[in-house]
């Protein structure tokens, strides 16, 4: 029984869908952020699997960049969450509508 990149792609797609569901359904902004991290990981699995298939490390290089971006996203995103929480005492995404006119 051989595990092909197709298997990894399906796994990745499923994880990505879980992330999408999390973003769309949950209202706690921290959980939404975590769902985004799940989606990023799904992408990474895909990249690593294909990097091995193609015997080319460029895929892994991309993963490094994705992780770097994820770190930046988490730092800024959590900073925003904290600032919002200080002002509105909520982490409910539905109540965060300051930018909506």
């Amino acid at each position: 029984m051989e595990i092909t990149p197709a298997h990894y792609t399906v796994l990745s797609a499923a994880l990505f869908s879980i992330g999408v569901i999390g973003v769309l359904v949950r209202r706690n902004i921290i959980i939404i952020f975590m769902a985004i991290e799940l989606m990023l990981n799904a992408v990474n699995i895909n990249l690593v699997a294909h990097a091995r298939q193609l015997e080319n490390l460029v895929g892994q290089v991309f993963v490094v960049f994705v992780i770097a971006v994820a770190a930046a996203e988490a730092a800024v995103g959590l900073g925003i969450i904290l600032a919002l929480f200080r002002n509105k005492e909520t982490v409910n995404i539905d109540e965060m509508n300051v930018m909506r006119w």
């Binding site: 600032a83 929480f85 200080r86 002002n87 509105k88 005492e89």
Partner: protein, 373 residues
């Protein structure tokens, strides 16, 4: 908008209850801290957990029985409490105490000061994390307790003085032992100093921590080392000599900055000065009786008096009113140094971190038995 809403978060302070069962509150002191992060915004000192009503109790005991109760106030310096009480009653009765008794009282009081400071040094260092100093200091305190045991048979609550003198003369060879102790102690003090005085971490933990100016210290009614740490010269032994202190030479160390480190240095120097006094007293110990002329039934004539001595913690004063008719005091009131120094805790801790709170409780050297009485 942010500036307007910021206080909502900023008032979200953590209320931390420290004590009465906390390893660093030295007994049953309770401090309710209001924290902003780890910084103390406000502190509420709660006392009274071992209030036994010693003052009221004393008004229903006859004059000799009270000596035993004074043991239970500052239980790490019982002999000093005995001394203060006995001298107050003697002042009230105008009894002359023989010179030998006054010398021995001075020796006992100074030994007690060393013992009390040992306990303070050990626990203070332990609070800041130097656990070895704790055991070293207790090792030397043990020697003093042995001396007291040789003298009066008790190790903590001595009941070691009587109105008009002392109950017992020192046993044979006791003065040699006391001299030997002085020699040992002198070496050990430098041992403590090696571990702490120039230790970078110790300096960082005590310098500039809990600074209190001379004016503030006087305003708060501090006494003893915390007051002298701020550079105020006030030592009852010098200002209003009692026992035999006017016959000895000793210095009163003063601080300059009024921080925790200064108070530490002062107490270490007091160790040395105490040894100096003990040596002088042992050298010049006169022969003679140890009890003055005191009537069988102690019944001071009507009147009131206040008398203070310098306990290891500061000015320990007794205010006693006698109605001249009964065999017990009409009013008995103690001015305990720990209680007055505890006043200083709140202003000291505000603005400091939680870790400093334990260091500051240590630096003012409170004994809750004396605070609550």
């Amino acid at each position: 908008m942010a500036s307007e809403a910021a206080p909502i978060f900023d008032t979200d302070e953590l209320v931390l209850n420290m004590g009465p069962q906390h390893p660093s509150t030295h007994g049953v002191l309770r401090v309710v801290l209001r924290l902003d992060g780890e910084r103390v915004v406000d502190a509420d000192v709660v006392i009274g957990y071992i209030h036994r009503g010693i003052e009221k109790l004393s008004e229903n005991r006859d004059w000799t029985q009270i000596i035993l109760l004074t043991d239970r106030m500052d239980y790490v310096a019982a002999a000093t409490n005995n001394l203060g009480y006995c001298e107050t009653v003697e002042k009230l009765m105008e009894v002359e105490v023989p010179r030998r008794a006054r010398y021995l009282r001075t020796i006992l009081a100074e030994l007690q000061r060393i013992a009390s400071h040992c306990l303070w040094l050990g626990t203070h260092a332990m609070d800041i994390g130097a656990m070895t100093v704790f055991l070293y200091a207790f090792r030397e305190r043990e020697l003093i307790l042995d001396l007291f045991e040789d003298y009066c048979g008790a190790r903590l609550t001595y009941n070691s003085m009587r109105i008009g003198g002392l109950p017992l003369d020192i046993p044979a060879g006791w003065d040699t032992k006391a001299r030997a102790f002085c020699d040992v102690m002198e070496v050990k003090i430098s041992e403590y100093e090696e571990l702490l005085t120039n230790n970078r971490i110790w300096l960082q933990r005590t310098r500039e921590i809990g600074v209190i100016s001379a004016a503030d210290a006087i305003g708060l009614g501090l006494c003893g080392p915390p007051l002298r740490g701020s550079g105020v010269f006030r030592d009852v032994r010098k200002d209003e000599p009692y026992a035999a202190y006017d016959e000895f030479e000793f210095d009163v160390p003063l601080g300059t900055k009024g921080d925790t480190y200064d108070r530490y240095l002062i107490r270490l120097e007091e160790f040395r000065q105490s040894i100096r006094i003990i040596r002088q007293a042992l050298d010049g110990l006169p022969e003679g009786p140890i009890m003055g002329k005191v009537p069988r039934l102690i019944k001071p004539k009507a009147g009131e008096t206040y008398h203070a001595i310098e306990s290891p913690k500061g000015e320990l004063g007794y205010f006693i009113v006698s109605d001249g008719r009964s065999t017990n005091p009409y009013r008995f009131r103690v001015r305990p140094p720990s209680f007055c120094n505890l006043q200083g805790l709140r202003p000291l801790v505000i603005g400091h971190l939680v870790a400093d709170v334990v260091a500051l409780i240590g630096t003012i050297d409170v004994v809750i038995g004396e605070v609550d009485r």
